[in-house]
């Protein structure tokens, strides 16, 4: 299973010709890494594909936890951790190359954005002459969903969520990929 050659599903060569009706649904981009994607990282095709399939589901679960937190089990902290684990799975399955394929944004930016959103949420009520961190609830009627209940403190939870995701990614970056790179360099020397 760890044979590298099985892991490559070649992309269709982009051509200028009109799309043939036989090949219109051939994937145009690589879904899995090519064989030389992660040097020195043992690959398991089963794990890699399973993780790829589970990845969006876990992310959706994390967002559910974030939104459900106000009424049920969950919240920004557990949600952020679950989302972080989605990336941990990617990293475990394929190393830093796989992680880089999953996320483009820099973890410190995510952490900063999280804290920024939380602090802004805290400060916005000051602009309306209310004490900092005052929360408000809205109950808008949405056609299909009926009456919703939205609290402004959800934004604070969003900040926590982003910060935690960034934190996990940063750990993967520094302790995970950082050590990985160094070990590889050490072996090369």
């Amino acid at each position: 299973m760890t044979d590298d050659s099985t892991g490559s599903i070649g992309p269709a060569e982009p051509t200028d010709e009109p799309v043939d009706w036989e090949s219109w649904d051939v994937p145009t981009e690589r879904w899995l890494r090519a064989e030389h994607g992660a040097p020195g990282w043992p690959r398991s095709l089963l794990l890699e594909i399973a993780v790829r399939i589970a990845f969006p589901t876990v992310l959706v679960l994390s967002v559910y936890l974030l939104f459900a937190g106000h009424y049920d089990v969950g919240g920004g902290f557990p949600g952020g951790l679950v989302a972080g684990f989605a990336f941990v799975m990617r990293y475990v399955a394929g190393g830093s190359v796989e992680l880089a394929a999953a996320v483009r944004i820099k973890p410190p930016a995510l952490i900063g954005a999280g804290l920024g959103i939380a602090v802004l949420t805290a400060l916005v009520p000051l602009g309306f002459g209310l004490p900092a961190l005052t929360s408000v609830q809205w109950h808008p009627h949405v056609p299909v969903l009926g009456e919703l209940s939205i609290a402004s403190s959800l934004l604070l939870d969003v900040g926590v969520y982003l910060l935690i995701v960034g934190l996990v990614l940063d750990l993967l970056r520094t302790l995970g990929a950082g050590i990985e790179t160094r070990d590889l360099e050490g072996e090369a020397r």
């Binding site: 009424y71 679950v82 961190l133 910060l163 750990l171 302790l175 990985e180 160094r182």
Partner: protein, 790 residues
């Protein structure tokens, strides 16, 4: 006037951008701000002269009584005229002085304007806390301006010394101000002065304030930072280190004098240090060959003089102090700007190399001569008026006055001598030396030098304009109110004394060589610079020693310290109070029993683990077991968080474990290679100690947790409130979340900030450690750190 202060900072922030576009013109743009502030201040002048100070205040944190206040009275007006007037002139001059091609105009211009704003705020502030903030901004601006781009060793060292000395004084000042304000019950300076408090704490506070005064105004033994700061560009020296910043100490002493001058703790140190500084500075100035250093020691000397005048707290002395404050600002900035023009024109400031400049630059020589005459105390200049008043103030047959009179007479003699040394050195023609080749100074230089020089000439005969302002300040002080500032008082003892001073000063100047031999013979341990160096190196040694002992770098030691503190601090209280009675059942649900068994078994197995990964997995099992216990008791949110965090911990552990050898290290055995068994007993003992500490910490926490969670009978009122209010207040049905994001949201923000800091720290440690390992070139400064670690 608040708007003027704010305008300074706003313009200062924009000047770096402006300088990118228009280069040196940024200085001229900056000069508009102090000039405008001067005009604004003058509109309040009639009111101030009538004795009604102008006040403004803006609250910015009303609930805790923080506010920006301005109180423009006679003393503040005097300082404002000096700060804004000289500031505008010096900035114009700087625009011509700065090299066209050199970078950093925006930085310098911005800092100068920011400094001017802080200085203006300092003299106008009526709130002690904002006074302190402005005080420190001037210090920082001075540091940045002296240090420049920090490219050469000397400017870095000088900037650091100026910063260390003045910040040390600044902290003492802050402490003194707070103690004083608390004793007085108000943070308003005018309130404190109107009703000065008494007591031992106030005495200590005044002493602390004087440390701030003495460091900022470069008094013995703190004075060496001022001559060292002369590495700064000359306009910076002219403004910060002659006219404005170093006057902050004098200003504060003058501000406090009406309330405290009758207390020995205030006037004795200031008068003694001031006289000492005045004589020492004048004496040292006679040895200098660098024009700027000569002026710097002259400034040190004059600052001592000013402090004596404002500290004795009599009406006449205060009049003299006010006149000298203005006179010194005018003549010293003129002379510094002249030194800068000489430096620019000839490329040197060394009086042993300059010759024949007076013939080439007659205008500049005349203007400098006017300022120098004011400095020496020649009529009809403002300096003469001030010095006459000063001599008159101490013409009493009391021991204190006689001693002070002797001191300031000696200081004035030196002043006359170094004034001559400056004038002749800069503009005289040395026999047998080729005249210096000098570029003409240009209109901007001449104009900028002419303004303060001519102001000194005009205000001398026209001292009648200044007199009401000086009297407005001085009338708060005791003593006969019969003296007034004037150019001509008749043939009086002070005039005769002045003549004597001038004559002796000339003789001392002629005997310059002898002076040069005598001075410089200060015994090594008494030198102030040596004192500073010793203090700083001692501090660094102390820090190294302390850090080396506390931060041993051994994780077991850190853990032991933390655990033992946990046991000792609450443990003592528990022993004193006794544990609450435990009245809980052994188990509330049968599910707890297997979970507890799992936790206990895992904990026991961790101790037997020989491989790191096994230990980590077993620790994780303990964590999951605890999470299960939470779940059984219905704390679903807590259980979820526990499971997730446990998982994350496991992941991080596994990531880090890749770098560590799989089995636990046995350093004793590995290092001795199994040959020498002598290392074994010591290791055993260390392990026993660790086991003891761990057992102690673990038992304590377990007992505490069991006792207190079992001892609770019902929800505490706070929890009950949360449960009742989660829905109506926060609109949440999940109480835990309502607490996290609503009721205790500030805590949450604090916690995520901690997480951010921790993540940043972990990232730089992990990434930085890798970089350090890869680097082979030793870097300066790294050796020190490794020493500390040892």
């Amino acid at each position: 006037m608040l708007i003027a202060i704010a305008a300074h900072f706003a313009v200062a922030a924009m000047l770096p951008l402006a300088a990118r576009r228009c280069g040196r013109a940024a200085f001229a743009i900056g000069a508009l701000v102090p000039a405008g502030s001067l005009a604004l201040a003058l509109t309040y002048l009639p009111g101030v002269l009538r004795g009604t100070p102008h006040g403004e205040s803006v609250h910015w944190a009303e609930r805790i009584g923080l506010l920006f206040t301005v109180r423009l009275d006679a003393l503040a007006m005097l300082m404002t005229l000096l700060v804004t007037g000289v500031g505008a002139v010096v900035l114009c001059y700087f625009g011509r002085y700065a090299d066209r091609d050199e970078p950093g105009h925006g930085r310098q211009a911005g800092l100068m304007v920011a400094f001017a704003g802080a200085m203006l705020g300092l003299v106008l502030a009526d709130d002690v806390l904002s006074l302190y903030v402005y005080w420190e901004i001037t210090t920082i601006a001075s540091f940045l301006l002296v240090g420049g781009a920090g490219r050469d060793e000397e400017s870095r060292r000088s900037a650091k010394q100026a910063l260390v000395v003045t910040v040390f004084g600044g902290l003492a000042l802050l402490l003194g101000l707070i103690v004083l304000a608390v004793a007085a019950g108000t943070f308003r300076l005018s309130g404190i002065l109107a009703d000065p408090p008494d007591g031992a704490a106030v005495t200590a506070a005044v002493a602390l304030l004087l440390v701030g005064v003495a460091t900022k105004s470069a008094q013995v033994p703190f004075h060496p930072w001022l001559p060292a700061a002369m590495v700064a560009p000359t306009p910076v020296s002219a403004y910060l280190h002659a006219a404005a910043m170093v006057k902050a100490g004098v200003y504060l002493a003058a501000r406090l004098a009406p309330a405290f001058a009758d207390r020995p703790v205030f006037w004795v140190p200031l008068v003694v240090l001031g006289l000492w500084t005045m004589v020492l500075g004048g004496f040292r100035a006679l040895r200098q060959h660098d024009l700027k250093l000569l002026l710097a020691f002259g400034t040190v000397s004059q600052l001592g003089f000013l402090l004596v005048l404002v500290a004795v707290g009599t009406y006449t002395a205060a009049l003299a102090g006010a006149a000298m404050l203005l006179a010194h600002g005018l003549f010293k900035s003129t002379l510094f700007l002249t030194a800068g023009a000489v430096d620019k024109g000839t490329g040197t400031r060394d009086i042993r190399e300059l010759s024949g400049l007076g013939r080439q630059w007659p205008q500049l020589a005349t203007l400098a001569g006017l300022a120098a005459a004011s400095m020496a105390g020649l009529p009809p200049l403002l300096g003469f008026v001030g010095k006459e008043a000063a001599l008159k103030a101490f013409l009493h047959a009391t021991p204190k006055d006689v001693a002070v009179l002797c001191g300031i007479t000696a200081g004035s003699v030196f002043t006359v001598a170094y004034t001559l040394r400056f004038l002749v050195g800069a503009f005289g023609t040395r026999p047998g030396a080729a005249p210096s080749r000098a570029k003409p100074p240009g209109a901007v230089f001449t104009a900028a030098i002419a303004v303060p020089a001519l102001a000194g000439l005009v205000v001398g005969p026209g001292v009648g304009w200044l007199a009401p302002l000086a009297a407005g300040y001085a009338e708060a002080l005791p003593g006969a109110h019969d003296y007034h500032l004037a150019l001509w008082h008749g043939l009086t003892p002070p005039l005769l004394l002045s003549v004597l001073v001038l004559a002796t000063g000339y003789a001392v100047y002629r005997a310059g060589r002898a002076v040069a031999v005598v001075s410089g013979r200060v015994p090594e341990p008494l030198r102030a610079q040596r004192g500073y160096d010793t203090a700083v190196s001692g501090l660094i040694r102390l820090a190294h020693g302390g850090t080396g002992r506390i931060q041993t770098g051994s994780l077991p030691v850190y853990l032991a310290v933390i655990l033992l503190t946990v046991v000792a601090a609450p443990g003592t209280m528990l022993l004193l109070r006794g544990l609450p009675a435990i009245e809980a059942p052994w188990s509330r649900s049968w599910l707890q029993l297997p979970l507890a068994a799992i936790v206990l078994a895992a904990a026991g197995a961790v101790l037997r683990a020989r491989r790191r990964l096994t230990a980590v997995l077993l620790t994780g099992m303990i964590g999951y077991g605890v999470g299960g216990l939470f779940l059984v008791r219905g704390a679903i949110d807590l259980a979820l968080a526990q499971f997730l965090v446990e998982t994350l911990t496991l992941v991080v552990f596994v990531l880090v474990l890749r770098r560590l050898p799989p089995p636990f290290a046995r350093p004793g055995r590995e290092r001795t290679g199994g040959q020498a068994r002598s290392g074994q007993p010591a290791l055993r003992r260390a392990e026993w100690r660790k086991a003891l500490v761990a057992a102690l910490g673990g038992t304590f926490v377990a007992v505490l947790a069991t006792a207190y969670s079992a001892g609770r009978e019902r929800l505490p009122p706070a929890s009950a409130w949360y449960v009742d209010n989660a829905k109506p207040e926060a609109g949440a049905t999940n109480v835990v979340n309502a607490i996290l994001v609503d009721f205790r949201a500030l805590d949450t923000i604090g916690e995520i900030t901690v997480l951010l800091v921790a993540a940043t720290g972990a990232a730089s440690l992990a990434l930085g450690a890798g970089r350090a390992r890869r680097r082979t070139m030793p870097r300066p400064g790294r050796d020190e750190r490794t020493e500390v670690r040892r």
